[in-house]
């Protein structure tokens, strides 16, 4: 079974110093100054290293107050500067899941409802080598569960111009998954996925940055969900996702706004829109030198169903594709969240976040949501520490 992807890194607050750097590098003759020397890197042998440890808790409810699923996951992230231009990044996650699998609509009463206890361990490792005007990253990821194994490798390169105002990125990834089932010990299927990504980051002016990224993925092999009684999907899936982001710093408020729009489409007929806004605010303290950073966010998501999704299974013949998987239905969701970070002492900080999400057919745009879906809600919490040295 697939899990929801969790969290993301904290983005930089776009600040005065960045504006000065941008203006300085626009002076003819100064464009060749190396803009991206990491400040910590410039200082002797220390700097550029980071360790983050966080604990995540995810809870889901459906049809009233029944708690359907909850996930607890500790996560460790390490980043280290090996030589001045080589960076190594790794992460490790241990998810433990318990709960009931999704209950459907009345037409499928009696299906599922059994409890799930599962554990997932996953790790990633990446090495980035930076040269004068480009960088190369090679990475790998592994994920293991009782009934699902995944291995992937990726390669990415970034290229920039002398003033670092324009950055182009290009990446390729290859993955191989192995799917089995705790229900059916004879099930042993493969799936392989290829991905391509192309993106552009552009500094628009003194206070704003624009980014756009397109990813394409092609997946061949077993796509169905082994736990659904009636679920048969095409053996291949191609998808395209296009993300555009705009970041703007407001000097009066001393905060930054991040706006994202993402469009997704695949050849199963699913297409989806995501719009998200985040605000980064730094708040000072008079008593000591430590600061809070507060990041509230709001996200809307709307998805149109896959061609072969239906909430009532027809009389099947072997050739027809069908799935009642809620994730392929038409629905919309709203998420509201807040994250806070606080520096406790030099190099050590605390991070807390809470997000509330509600998903229901009614929230969908471009037409009604799929009928018969029970709305569900979810809450994510996280608590973590970070160390920079």
């Amino acid at each position: 079974m697939k899990r929801k992807r969790k969290s993301e890194g904290v983005q930089e607050v776009y600040a005065c110093a960045r504006l000065l750097c941008s203006a300085a590098f626009s002076i003819p003759g100064l464009a060749l100054i190396d803009n991206f020397a990491l400040p910590q890197q410039a200082l002797g042998e220390s700097g550029g290293n980071e360790v983050r440890f966080a604990f995540f808790n995810y809870r889901e409810w459906q049809a009233g107050n029944q708690q359907r699923m909850h996930v607890n996951a500790p996560m460790l992230y390490v980043k280290s500067l090996v030589e001045r231009s080589t960076e190594v990044e790794g992460s490790f996650v241990l998810d433990s899941i318990s709960g009931a699998s999704p209950l459907y609509h009345d037409t499928l009463s009696g299906a599922s409802g059994r409890g799930i206890e599962d554990e997932r361990t996953a790790g990633t490792l990446g090495i980035t080598q930076t040269f004068d005007r480009f960088s190369v990253t090679v990475g790998g990821a592994i994920s293991n569960e009782d009934d699902y194994d995944s291995n992937a490798g990726s390669f990415e390169t970034k290229v920039w111009d002398a003033s670092h105002n324009t950055i182009l990125n290009f990446g390729v990834s290859l993955g191989r998954d192995r799917i089995s089932s705790t229900n059916d010990s004879t099930l042993d299927e493969d799936r392989s996925t290829t991905g391509l990504a192309l993106g552009l980051t552009q500094i628009l002016d003194e206070v704003s940055i624009g980014q756009t990224n397109i990813t394409y993925s092609s997946s061949d092999g077993y796509q169905s969900d082994p736990y659904k009684s009636f679920d048969s999907r095409p053996q291949s899936r191609q998808a395209v996702a296009w993300l555009t982001r705009y970041i703007r710093y407001f000097s009066d408020a001393d905060g930054s706004l991040h706006l994202d729009y993402r469009y997704y489409q695949d050849n199963w007929g699913v297409h989806a829109h995501t719009v998200e806004a985040r605000w980064y605010q730094v708040l000072g303290s008079e008593l000591d030198d430590r600061f809070w950073t507060l990041i509230p966010r709001l996200r809307f998501y709307s998805q149109c169903k896959a061609d072969y999704y239906d909430n009532q299974f027809p009389a099947l013949d072997e050739e027809q594709y069908y799935s009642a998987d809620q994730r392929l239905s038409g629905f919309g969701s709203v998420l509201l969240g807040i994250k806070a970070e606080r520096e406790l002492r030099a190099n050590l900080g605390l991070s807390l976040s809470a997000d509330y999400m509600q998903q229901r057919g009614l929230l969908k745009i471009e037409g009604p949501g799929s009928p018969g879906l029970s709305p569900f809600s979810a809450i994510f919490f996280s608590l973590g520490f970070y160390l920079k040295f």
């Binding site: 960045r18 100064l30 200082l43 002797g44 001045r84």
Partner: protein
């Protein structure tokens, strides 16, 4: 052919300066040294308000009357100065040099309120008129003074010059504004001492720098004290009076020009705003406040508190 460290000093821009570089032999070093002195001398001749034929002197002479054509480089520098002016809410202002008529650090006498207020109409970046490739100071008697950015800009230009010549490691000290091209051949960093604001010949901390610029602003460079109060040369462009909150600020940044502006802006905006500004920049900094207490985001300094 082992490379070794060569060092030489020279006078320019009103201060004692020094270049250290790792070269194959003395001849190579001397050639680079001459090139560096030449670059700095060109910058001084072009931008110094003390030299009557410099572009800055010509602009100042034409204040209140003529538009002067300027180079793209000066145009870029003025754009940069404007960003500094915005970011400091008008406190960092390259037209505030006229205040030296009121503040004479030789006679050590503070001016009275009127003497300062008389000068305020001649100050204000909003009175600098710009058109593509040209500039004009709106009011006769206004003066542009690039003293606040000149040395740091020179350090950056010298670093680029040395880098273009393939030099892997060098350090330039231009009157306290530092530029470092890269770590020393053995991988170690250049050890830069930060002056004790109250004991000029002693250092209060050391910062190890392997790349980029380091600048320091302090209330001890030109000052006088009266009745226990210190009047220094860093003047608030709005009030016309010196800042009094911090003893010194040092910042390391990829560009010495940016480092220098951040230190000046920090001295101008006071302790709280300076801490906020520097923390957000993520650049290494060291602040020594009015009580002599050190605030820093880097462990990489040793000092006696």
């Amino acid at each position: 052919m082992a490379i070794q460290e060569f060092r030489d000093s020279f006078k320019a821009m009103g201060s004692r300066n020094e270049l250290s570089a790792f070269c194959r032999n003395k001849v190579e070093f001397q050639s680079l040294f001459r090139g560096v002195v030449g670059i700095i001398s060109d910058i001084e001749a072009t931008y110094s308000r003390f030299i009557p034929t410099s572009i800055v002197s010509r602009i100042n002479l034409a204040a209140g009357s003529d538009w002067i054509d300027i180079s793209e480089e000066l145009s870029g520098l003025l754009d940069y100065a404007e960003v500094c002016w915005h970011q400091s809410n008008g406190l960092f202002d390259l037209t505030s040099g006229v205040l030296r008529h009121a503040w004479n650090f030789e006679t050590k006498r503070p001016p009275n309120q009127e003497e300062v207020e008389e000068l305020l109409p001649y100050i204000g970046w909003e009175k600098v008129e710009r058109r593509p490739g040209r500039v004009k100071l709106a009011v006769k008697g206004m003066q542009l003074d690039l003293g606040g950015v000149g040395k740091e800009f020179a350090v950056d230009k010298v670093l680029i010059y040395l880098r273009e010549r393939g030099l892997p490691s060098a350090m330039l000290n231009l009157g306290g504004d530092i530029g470092v091209l890269g770590p020393k051949p053995d991988g170690s960093s250049w050890q830069i001492g930060i002056r004790d604001p109250r004991a000029f010949t002693e250092s209060i901390a050391t910062i190890a720098l392997s790349k980029g610029g380091l600048a320091t602003s302090g209330d001890y460079e030109r000052f006088f004290e009266l009745d226990g109060k210190r009047f220094c040369h860093i003047l608030n462009a709005k009030t016309g009076f010196p800042v009094q909150e911090l003893q010194s600020v040092s910042v390391a940044a990829p560009s010495c020009l940016v480092a220098g502006s951040l230190t000046t802006i920090s001295m101008l905006v006071g302790r709280e705003k300076a801490l906020e500004l520097l923390k957000q920049s993520a650049f290494p900094y060291l602040i020594i406040d009015s009580k002599g207490a050190m605030h820093s985001n880097t462990q990489n300094h040793c000092g006696h508190i």
